[in-house]
């Protein structure tokens, strides 16, 4: 059992992080907190992907004798590069989403002068919008 837990502990970590992030996204009332949760959520997924790529006994996927490539390349020596590639994209997507979300946050603050979800809902109800 312990062996089982240890052999996959990084997956557990990522699941815990993801749950924290998701909880903040759904459960927190403050909008900035939601965004913080979103960032945590996204980087948890990235952690998951990075863990997929890990190979025991392998090194970073940069060949040392660059450019020649005549010597045989041992696949087992290099970490799987594909998840890294995917995650570069995912990180950029996450920052872009954060940017847009923060911009809308400022619009919201301008309109309601608060960032608490319940207060905004109250204001909207009062104004009948």
């Amino acid at each position: 059992m312990l062996d089982y837990v240890i052999s996959k502990y990084n997956f557990w970590i990522y699941i815990i992080l993801m749950m924290i992030g998701l909880y903040a996204m759904i459960g927190k009332k403050n909008l900035v907190k939601k965004l913080i949760g979103m960032n945590i959520f996204q980087s948890a997924i990235i952690l998951f992907y990075v863990s997929i790529g890990v190979k025991a006994g392998a090194t970073v996927p940069i060949l040392s004798g660059h450019g020649h490539g005549h010597e045989a390349i041992e696949v087992a020596n290099y970490i799987n590069p594909l998840p890294h590639v995917l995650m570069l994209t995912a990180i950029v997507v996450s920052i872009a989403t954060t940017g847009i979300a923060l911009a809308s946050l400022i619009l919201i603050y301008r309109k309601y002068n608060t960032l608490e979800e319940d207060e905004i809902l109250k204001i909207r109800k009062e104004t009948g919008a």
Binding site: V60, I62, H66, L88, V92, A96, G99, L102, A103, I106, R110, N113
Partner: protein
């Protein structure tokens, strides 16, 4: 607008911060360019370099104030750069298309570069990394300016416009 906080966009009056960032920014930029140019051999590439480039300008905004920074990098230029970057990327792809290959097939670039297919691909990668870098830099600056100023990057002109 209520509660305008200019913390991020007015000139800092701390001499230490100002002087250090003044000295740091050129090195940040050269490092960013190095990261873009050496993405083939070491970690890094268009994104990281672009973000660092953007960060250097953001630092300029934070320490020297918006107006000084905008003198170096106006909004319009920034927007144009933003699309130029993507255009470099997509343009290389279309160039491959025009040369008879599929979209983004850098091997076709060999027809005009004459350096061998592998090298052509390498150069293609460099080209797109530059495109990525330019876009990311401009985009980061643009997003930061919009958020930090609440959409009025050149504030003083705006106030004058209001008075007039």
């Amino acid at each position: 607008m209520t509660g305008v906080n200019d913390m991020m966009t007015k000139q800092s009056d701390d001499v230490i911060v100002k002087t250090l960032s003044r000295l740091l920014i050129p090195f940040m930029q050269i490092y960013a360019l190095y990261v873009i140019a050496h993405g083939h051999y070491s970690p890094g590439g268009g994104f990281q370099g672009g973000v660092i480039l953007g960060a250097s300008i953001i630092l300029l905004v934070i320490t020297y104030g918006l107006d000084n920074a905008l003198r170096k990098m106006s909004e319009k230029l920034n927007t144009i750069l933003c699309s130029t970057g993507v255009f470099i990327y997509a343009g290389i792809g279309v160039l491959c298309l025009i040369l008879g290959g599929n979209f983004l097939d850098y091997a076709e670039l060999d027809q005009i570069l004459h350096v061998g297919i592998a090298q052509a691909r390498s150069l293609g990668i460099l080209g797109v990394e530059v495109g990525v870098g330019v876009t990311v830099m401009a985009a980061m600056i643009s997003i930061f300016l919009d958020i930090a100023t609440g959409g009025l990057p050149s504030k003083e002109k705006n106030i004058q416009g209001k008075r007039a």
